[in-house]
């Protein structure tokens, strides 16, 4: 997976752009680092052919001296192959109580309707640009409300784009997260 490091605002803006101009999806997805199958293949080839790994520029904890080494293209490419794995430790989830109950209910209902219609359509249609766009736009609210991280949203978009995760599975995962959030919130308020 080749996710460009984005801020939450960057991704939300990109999703809004896609919502307004679905025809620009190639450009918009490219800007957020999701270029599709071709780019991933190129990354893998570069990594296999790549030079030795250079240390990442950092300030050492022991000496306090910054060790800056220019990252070669191969390093960047191999990092792309590994995916957005670098920020495991920094994912943060916003407090459940921050989300308004009615808004959550609305989000959950919309998701339920979409899941039902997807199940119906599954046998007769393949993945279309329209329903892929609809999925990306749907991510806006869970992302804005901190239910998923920017990195998770990016990776999900990419996996759906590549056809490695079905829309149905992706929606179900989101549905579970939103439903769970409601349960916790109900427990707190009751």
């Amino acid at each position: 997976m080749s996710n460009k490091k984005l801020s939450k605002n960057d991704l939300l803006k990109a999703i809004e752009q896609l919502e307004k101009n679905p025809s620009d999806r190639g450009k918009i997805l490219g800007e957020i680092g999701i270029a599709g199958v071709g780019a991933v293949g190129a990354g893998a080839v570069a990594a296999i052919a790549g030079a030795s790994i250079a240390p990442i520029p950092v300030i050492t904890a022991l000496t306090g001296i910054g060790v800056t080494v220019a990252a070669p293209v191969a390093l960047v490419a191999s990092a792309a192959v590994v995916g957005g794995a670098a920020a495991y430790g920094v994912a943060k989830f916003v407090s459940n109580s921050a989300m308004h109950e009615t808004r959550r209910k609305e989000l959950q209902d919309r998701l339920k309707i979409r899941l039902c219609s997807l199940e119906e359509e599954e046998n007769k249609t393949t993945l279309t640009t329209e329903n892929k766009n609809a999925f990306i736009v749907f991510l806006k609210n869970p992302l804005a409300q901190g239910l998923i991280t920017t990195e998770q949203a990016q990776q999900l978009i990419e996996l759906v784009e590549l056809g490695q995760v079905s829309l149905e599975e992706a929606y179900k995962l989101l549905y579970d997260i939103i439903s769970e959030d409601r349960e916790v919130s109900s427990e707190i308020t009751s």
Partner: protein, 174 residues
């Protein structure tokens, strides 16, 4: 109240993302990354063996060994500067120590590797890092803290998914 602990759904999502990332990473790529660390051959061999380990979590087959290996390699590559002149083996040792302490179910997967590196698991289940402490008497502890921080989210996700499994197993039949 703000909590950093992922929910069940969030943990499931994250595991799916890690698993997909593991599936799309070739074993050859990982082997090249391992070779670059210039580790003793027996550690290389144990690390590479991880790529074949699969575990069922939440009803799905998860390439847990490969996921752990990618995490280990990310950790070592990010922190190699910490042990300049000592070697990547010490970093791997601190990572394994951290993972085995925080996620008990990982123990069986990592036991052969831990043995080669010199981490001792006592009969009572306690984990002792004798070799690590011998090699790094002064910075061994801080290195383990670096590892704990790096693997915190990873450990939390696995623990959330594991606790769900345990709950199901301990529920009464009625």
């Amino acid at each position: 109240m703000t909590t950093s602990l992922p929910s069940q759904g969030q943990a499931n999502l994250q595991l799916l993302l890690w698993n997909k990332s593991a599936e799309s990473t070739s074993n050859d790529d990982l082997y090249i990354r391992i070779q670059r660390l210039e580790l003793p051959q027996e550690i290389v061999s144990q690390l590479h063996d991880l790529t074949a380990k699969i575990k069922e979590i939440s009803g799905k087959s998860i390439r847990i060994g490969k996921i752990i290996l990618i995490q280990l390699l990310d950790f070592v590559e990010e922190n190699l500067f910490l042990v300049a002149g000592i070697g990547a083996g010490v970093l791997i040792g601190s990572a394994i120590f951290s993972l085995m302490v925080s996620v008990p179910f990982i123990g069986p997967f990592l036991a052969p590797l831990a043995k080669v590196i010199g981490i001792t698991i006592t009969a009572a289940g306690a984990i002792l890092g004798h070799e690590l402490d011998k090699k790094l008497p002064t910075i061994g502890k801080s290195l383990r803290e670096v590892a704990d921080t790096f693997f915190k989210f990873f450990s939390q996700v696995l623990m959330v998914l594991l606790s769900e499994k345990q709950d199901i197993q301990t529920l009464p039949a009625s």
